[in-house]
Symmetry: C2
Subunit: 264 residues, 2 copies
């Protein structure tokens, strides 16, 4: 986040993210899905701040055996994502990779200063809420075809009482402690309230990661009206309150940590 | 290049560039040098447009065996470059690489609209000029410690008669045809005028690549005054006119193509 770009009331957002063969996708993943995922991950990050992505730079380190059709497949996925979320690829680079396929995406976006939401905005007593359902992203293949919550994040950032927000990329068990810590709080979770994807256990929902749902905190008095508006605007996407931030002097609910790319 | 950021008279410049172990540096290259090179390559690109880099996003895919000291070494080189060229690292990402070390840098910079120089600005008759000396960048290790021509590019972009500019990253034999083609011209080169690094042949200077010198075109009437000012401002850096753009109907001087990362 850096100061004003086009307007003194705006922040400019810069986000970079990379996917690596063997870490974020397997060698037999269709390249169109790889392209979609590479672009949608940083879109999800910007969405979770209440921002709008506009420009993308894409760097591809491709194995030397790549043929024309491989590039076409990859860019079919990238192109689909840019169309779906209305951004432009304005540059990039291709290099040869002696190892796995590697794609790095840098996004430039914008947010109104008054609407920007960070991890650090939460206060003790705020409700902890999540969009959608959690768990099983890898086994179901959802991590390759998810839709970043761009409209939802933008709308939430404009609602009074939404104090902190982030996207769930590493898993609730890893991301919630980050949000709470950035807000100077501890947290209490009602595990039985966590919305689960079909076939998933609570443990899966906590630790699988790559849900790309929104995790946000909400002042309790705003709960009823926000849930009502939400269900009329986004009727097919659940919104669930699963716990509460507490003073940092209280011990947090013990929660298994989520997926950590560097340790995995 | 996208329209105005902070000011209607400015362009915002976005550039991404990547270095890969085994392509741009070897496994035994000191990591501080790798960090320096990773940052200085896109700085050189922005310098060659007459722009100023401001913010950097850095993505590192590091082998899983990396220790704390490896990160410190890498960021020593990155930090040295940000201090030398006055830019800020404002974000980035680290992921695990199952293969080689991979570093992708995205830079955001600015240029005054009237000063922006592109490859496409040349006209038949313009002189072709280069800064510094060419060739031998890999064998001498110069590709790991070069200084992007930031002050020089900024100054050149402000001089009347400088019509097109780019940096020499792939080698004169590959880059000059790109500049000429973007300008809709052919070119004539006097090979014996190409400024050579010690121990280098003309062939080396044409095809080695990674010189990171500036290649630009100049209206002939401005030659004398520009060379005079140059030698008082930058007394230790040669500036040499090596040829001329011609109408596209004329055949270009045959020139061996330079280094191509994808084909190498």
């Amino acid at each position: 986040v850096v100061n004003s770009p086009y307007h003194k009331d705006m922040f400019q957002l810069l986000k970079t993210d990379a996917v690596v063969e063997g870490v974020h996708f397997s060698p037999d993943t269709p390249l169109a899905s790889v392209g979609w995922k590479a672009l949608c991950r940083p879109i999800s990050d910007i969405a979770a701040t209440g921002g709008i992505p506009r420009h993308a730079l894409i760097t591809v380190a491709a194995p030397s055996y790549w043929k024309r059709n491989d590039w076409i497949s990859l860019y079919r996925g990238i192109g689909k994502a840019t169309l779906s979320f209305e951004l432009s690829v304005i540059g990039g680079e291709t290099v040869r990779s002696p190892g796995p396929l590697f794609i790095s995406v840098a996004l430039v976006g914008y947010a109104r200063k008054e609407h920007l939401r960070l991890r650090s905005g939460g206060h003790p007593g705020d409700l902890i809420c999540v969009t959608g359902r959690l768990g099983g992203s890898f086994t179901s293949g959802r991590h390759l075809r998810f839709h970043p919550r761009l409209r939802e994040g933008l709308w939430l950032s404009q609602q009074k009482g939404v104090t902190a927000m982030m996207d769930l990329s590493d898993g609730l068990g890893s991301d919630l402690p980050k949000l709470a810590s950035a807000s100077g709080c501890s947290f209490q979770i009602a595990f039985e309230k966590i919305p689960l994807n079909r076939g998933c256990s609570i443990q899966d929902a906590v630790s699988d990661g790559e849900d790309y749902e929104l995790l946000f905190t909400l002042q309790p008095p705003k709960r009823k009206s926000l849930l009502e508006k939400w269900s009329s605007l986004f009727p097919r996407l659940p919104l669930t309150c699963i716990g509460q931030l507490t003073a940092s002097s209280v011990a947090s609910t013990p929660i298994a940590s989520g997926y950590d790319h560097l340790k995995a």
